[in-house]
Amino acid sequence: MKKLIPLVLVLVGLGIVAASFVPPRNATDFNLLGFGRLPVVVNGRVKPLDTVARTTLLVFQSSQNIPTPDGKKLTPDAWLLDVVFNGPKADTYQHFEINHPDVLALFGLRSDEGRGGRRFSFQQIEKNISELQRQAKLVEPVESALRTPFQKAVVQLYANVGLYFRLKGSLVAPDHKDFLAELLAFQKNVAAGVDAVRAKQAGKPHDAALAEQMMETGGRFSRMSELAYLLAVPPDEGESNTSGWKKVGESLLDSFQSGRVPSSAMVYAGLARTWRAGQAKEFNELLGLYQAQLDKGFATTLKKSGAEVRFNAANPFYTAMVLYVLAFLVAVISWLKWPAELGRSAFWLVTFAWLLTTAGIVMRMWLEGRPPVTNLYSSALFVGWVAVAACLVLEYFYRNAIGTVAAGLVGFGTLLIAYYLALDGDTLEMMRAVLDSNFWLATHVVTVTAGYGATFLAGFLALIYVSRGLFTTSLDKATADTLNRMVYGIVCFATLFSLIGTVLGGIWADQSWGRFWGWDPKENGALLIVIWNAIILHARWGGLAKARGIMALAVFGNIVTAWSWFGVNMLGVGLHSYGFMDSAFFWLVAFAASQLVFIALACVPLEKWRSFRTTTAA
C-alpha cells in the first residue's frame, strides 16, 4: 500500500493539471466563447472581450464569480454581454463591491442587503448616484496619498460606476431600444440627411424633419464616442495598423462623411438585438459571419485573442497554487512518516506546479511580446518561479523534502501576492516609454527579480531550520548541516543575481537618463539586498556568525527583500516606483513583524531547542 502512495498522489496531481487544460465549453446555446474571443483595444493593448470581462469583474468586486439575482451562475462573457447590450438587466446584478460602512450610508444601504454582505447592484445605488458624484468631487483636490479610507472608497466606487457607464456605451447606444433598426434607418437616410443639414446651414429649402433627425443622431453618436471604453472597430488597413482602432461612436460619426456604416458597428448592433431577444441561432450566425470577416485582415490577432481566452479559462496560476499547497502538506507529513514515498510524491507535485507556472509565464511573454517581468504582478510570478526552480535543484540533490516544503511555501506565497495584485485590472500592461526596452527588461529586471527570489528562498529555508529545530525533534545534526549548506549556497546565488542585476540597473540608468547611480529609492532597495547578502557571506567567512546566526540573518533577508520589492513603492518618490499601494502596507508590516518573531526565536538558547535538547540527551 505504501508503494502506491506516490503513484496515487502523482495521478491526483496530473488529474488537477489535466482538468485545467480541458477546453472551456459554452454553458448556453449562445456562442459566449466566440463573443469573448472578439478583439478590442483597451489601455493600448489588443485583447479579447473575455479578458475585458474578467478584469472588469475583478476591479468591480474582486472576484470573477457573478450570479444573477435569482442565483444562476453567469460566465464573465455572459455578464459582459448583459452589461454592453442589456443595461436594464445588468443594473440588477450585484457587482459593485462596497466595504466602507460610511459609503453604504451614502446610499442608505445596509450590508445585509448586498450579496455576500458587500456587493450591490446599480439599481441599489442608482437613486443616490448624484451624492456619490458630489462626494467624489469633494475628494478630487486631495492628493491621493493623503486620502482617508472613506475618500479612497468613494473615489474607487465612483471610478467603477464610471467604468460601468462607459462599458454600456461602448458597443451600442446605452439607452437603445433597437440599435440595429436605428443604424439601418440611418444607413438608408444618411446621404439625403447630410444634404438636408447642409442645405439648412446654407439657408436653402430642405427637409426639416430629416435634418432634425440627423442632428439628433449625430449627437447620440458623439455622446457614444465620448463615453465608450472599448475601441471595438478595427482599422480598415488590417492588423498592421495598430493605432487605427476606433470607438464605435467615432466610426459612426465618420459615416456621416463616408455614407457607409462600418460593418463592426452593424454586427454589434445585431448581436445586441439577438442577445436581448434570446435568439441564440441568429446570434451565433452573425458572430460566425463577423469572425470570418475578421479572419481576412486580423488572422494573427484572432489567433492570439483565442489563445488568451483559453489561457484565461485554464488559469494555470490558480491550479499551481492548489498543487503547491498539496505538495507542502505532503512534504511536511513526509518528515513524520514515509519519508521516501511521500517525499518523492511531493517532489513531483512541485514539479507539476512549476511546469504549469512556466507554461503560464511563457504564454504571457508570447501574448505581450516581452521578457517575463514587466510589472509588479509579473515580478511576483517570476520571484516564485525562480525560487521554486532553485528548490527543485536542491531537492534533486538532497531528497530530504526541505526543498519541496520551501517550494510549497514560496510558490504559494508569491502566487497569492500575484492574485491580489491582479485585482487592479489587466496585468498585461503596455510599457511606458522609459521602460520600453526589451533588452534591459530581459537583463536587469530579470536578474534583479531572480535575486529577490533567491534571497526569499534563503530566508524561507532558514524559517524551516528555526521551526523544525525549535519546535520538533526532527532536525538531526545531518539535516541541520544540510540546511546550513543550502542556505549558504542560495545566499551565494542571491548575491550573484542581486549584485549583477543592480549594476545592470545602474548601466540602464546611465543609458536612459544619464547617470549610473542616483540613490533613487528603488535603486537603494536593490542595493540593500546586495549589502545584506554580502553581510551574510562575510559574517560566515569571518566566523562571526555560526549556524543559528546565519539563519537569523537569512530571515532578516526576507524583510530587506520585502522592503525593496514593495516597501519602496509605498514611499511615493523616485523615478521608477511602479505601483503605489496602501492596503498592502499593512501586510508588509505584518510580514516584517512575523519575521522579527522568527529572528527572536532563532536567538533562543540552544538548550531550549527541542531538536538539540534530545541530541544532547541521547
Partner: protein
C-alpha cells in the same frame, strides 16, 4: 613591526570591520531612502552620501550616521588592505579577487563621477540651433557688449560671486559691478512704479530698468524635486566717476536689459550658466507617440542635425528614450518634451569615467560566477564521490 602599527593594520584588514561597515552602509542607505520623502533626492545625495557624517532626522531626534564618504572610503581601505595583507593571490580564489577588483573599480568610478560629472540641459524648439547647454541650477550674470553688430563681447559673473556680494572689476568692463542684494530664490510681481517697495522690506531700491516696476519677495530655498529656485539680484553699476544706478536681474524677467555707458551699449541678464560646445545641434522634429486610446507615452524622440564649424560632421541623429547621442565626450539624453509646441529638452552629461561601471560589472559578474561556479562544481563532485559508495 611596531605592535601599535600591527594593531592598526589588523584593524583595517579585518573581516569584522568589513561586516560593520556593510551594516553601516545598510543603515545609511535605508535612512537616506526614508529621508527622501521629506528632503527630495538632491539634498539627500549631498547630506547622506557626499558627506562624512550624515544627520538623520527621525521625528524630533537627530541621529548622526557615518556618511557616504566615510563608509565608502573605509570600505575601500579595508578592501585594499585585505588584499595586500590577508587575501594573498591564489588561483582558486581568483573569483573573489576579480569580484573585489570590480567593486574597487565601481567605488572609484563613483568617486570620479562625483568629482568630474557635469550635468546640463539643452532646450531646443523645432528648427532652432544651439551650440551651448545650460546648467540645471547654477546661474550667471552676463554683461554683454553689443556695440559691434558683428559679434557680442560677453563677460559672465557666476552666481557664487554674486552671492558673496563681491565687487567685480573686469578688464573688459569700464565699470564695476557691485551686488547690493542676492536672493537664491525670489518671486517677482508687477508693482506700480511710483509706489515704493513694501514697507519694512529690506530689498534695496531699484532705480533702473524693468526692475523699477517689480516687487521682489525673497523666498526660502526649495528642495522639492518638482520646484526650482529662481534667483534674483540687485546690482549696482559704478562707472569711473559715478554710479549708473541699480538694476534688478532675474531669469524671471524673460529678456535682457539694455544700458549705455561711455559710448557703448550693454546688455545685462541673469541667466542659467552656459557651457559652449565646439559643435551645434539643430532640432528638426519632435515625435511623441502614445498608445491608442490612452495617454500612456509610447515613445519620445527628437530628430536633430549635428554640425561642426569645420564641416567634418554634418548629419542627422535620432535621440530617443534609452538611446542617447554620445558625441565629443558628451551624452545627450531625451529628457523632457512638449510635442504640441515642438519643444524638446536634452539632458547633457559629461562624465569621463562613464565606462568604469561597465568594466566593474563585467569583472564582478565573471568573478562571482567563477567563485560560486567552482564551489558548485566541487560540491557536485563531492556528492558524487560520497553517494557512489553509498549506492554500492
Amino acid at each position: 613591526m611596531h605592535p601599535f602599527t600591527r594593531q592598526v593594520r589588523d584593524f583595517f584588514v579585518s573581516l569584522k570591520l568589513t561586516v560593520v561597515l556593510l551594516a553601516c552602509s545598510l543603515v545609511l542607505v535605508f535612512a537616506a531612502t526614508l529621508a527622501q520623502v521629506e528632503l527630495g533626492i538632491y539634498v539627500v545625495q549631498e547630506r547622506f552620501f557626499h558627506s562624512f557624517i550624515a544627520i538623520w532626522h527621525v521625528g524630533s531626534l537627530y541621529v548622526p550616521l557615518p556618511g557616504g564618504y566615510l563608509v565608502g572610503g573605509l570600505l575601500l581601505i579595508n578592501l585594499i588592505a585585505a588584499h595586500i595583507y590577508r587575501l594573498k593571490f591564489e588561483w582558486r580564489k581568483a573569483g573573489i579577487q576579480l569580484t573585489h577588483g570590480g567593486l574597487i573599480v565601481l567605488l572609484i568610478g563613483e568617486l570620479l563621477t562625483g568629482l568630474w560629472q557635469e550635468d546640463f540641459s539643452m532646450q531646443l524648439s523645432e528648427n532652432e540651433t544651439k551650440s551651448y547647454s545650460e546648467s540645471f541650477r547654477l546661474h550667471e550674470l552676463a554683461v554683454i557688449d553689443t556695440t559691434d553688430a558683428q559679434f557680442d563681447d560677453v563677460v559672465v559673473i557666476p552666481d557664487t560671486k554674486l552671492a558673496r556680494s563681491e565687487t567685480v572689476q573686469h578688464p573688459k568692463l569700464p565699470f564695476r559691478v557691485v551686488t547690493r542684494a542676492f536672493y537664491p530664490n525670489a518671486a517677482l510681481a508687477r508693482r506700480d512704479a511710483s509706489a515704493p517697495q513694501a514697507a519694512g522690506s529690506a530689498v534695496p531700491a531699484i532705480t533702473q530698468g524693468m526692475g523699477s516696476a517689480v516687487a521682489v519677495t525673497p523666498l526660502p530655498i526649495t528642495y522639492k524635486p518638482n520646484e526650482t529656485n529662481s534667483p534674483a539680484a540687485i546690482i549696482e553699476i559704478i562707472g569711473a566717476d559715478a554710479s549708473l544706478g541699480t538694476w534688478l536681474v532675474s531669469p524671471e524677467l524673460g529678456m535682457p536689459q539694455t544700458f549705455s555707458h561711455a559710448g557703448r551699449t550693454w546688455r545685462l541678464a541673469l541667466r542659467l550658466q552656459r557651457a559652449y560646445k565646439p559643435f551645434a545641434l539643430q532640432l528638426l522634429k519632435v515625435t511623441h507617440d502614445i498608445y491608442v486610446g490612452t495617454d500612456l507615452p509610447k515613445n519620445f524622440s527628437s530628430r536633430i542635425k549635428l554640425t561642426t564649424p569645420d564641416g567634418r560632421d554634418d548629419r542627422e541623429v535620432l535621440i530617443y528614450m534609452n538611446n542617447p547621442l554620445r558625441y565629443g565626450g558628451f551624452t545627450f539624453y531625451q529628457y523632457q518634451m512638449n510635442a504640441a509646441t515642438g519643444l524638446t529638452v536634452f539632458q547633457v552629461v559629461r562624465n569621463p569615467s562613464w565606462l568604469l561601471p561597465y568594466i566593474a560589472c563585467i569583472m564582478m559578474g565573471f568573478g562571482l560566477v567563477l567563485q560560486f561556479g567552482l564551489s558548485l562544481l566541487k560540491f557536485i563532485d563531492k556528492r558524487r564521490t560520497t553517494s557512489t559508495p553509498a549506492a554500492a
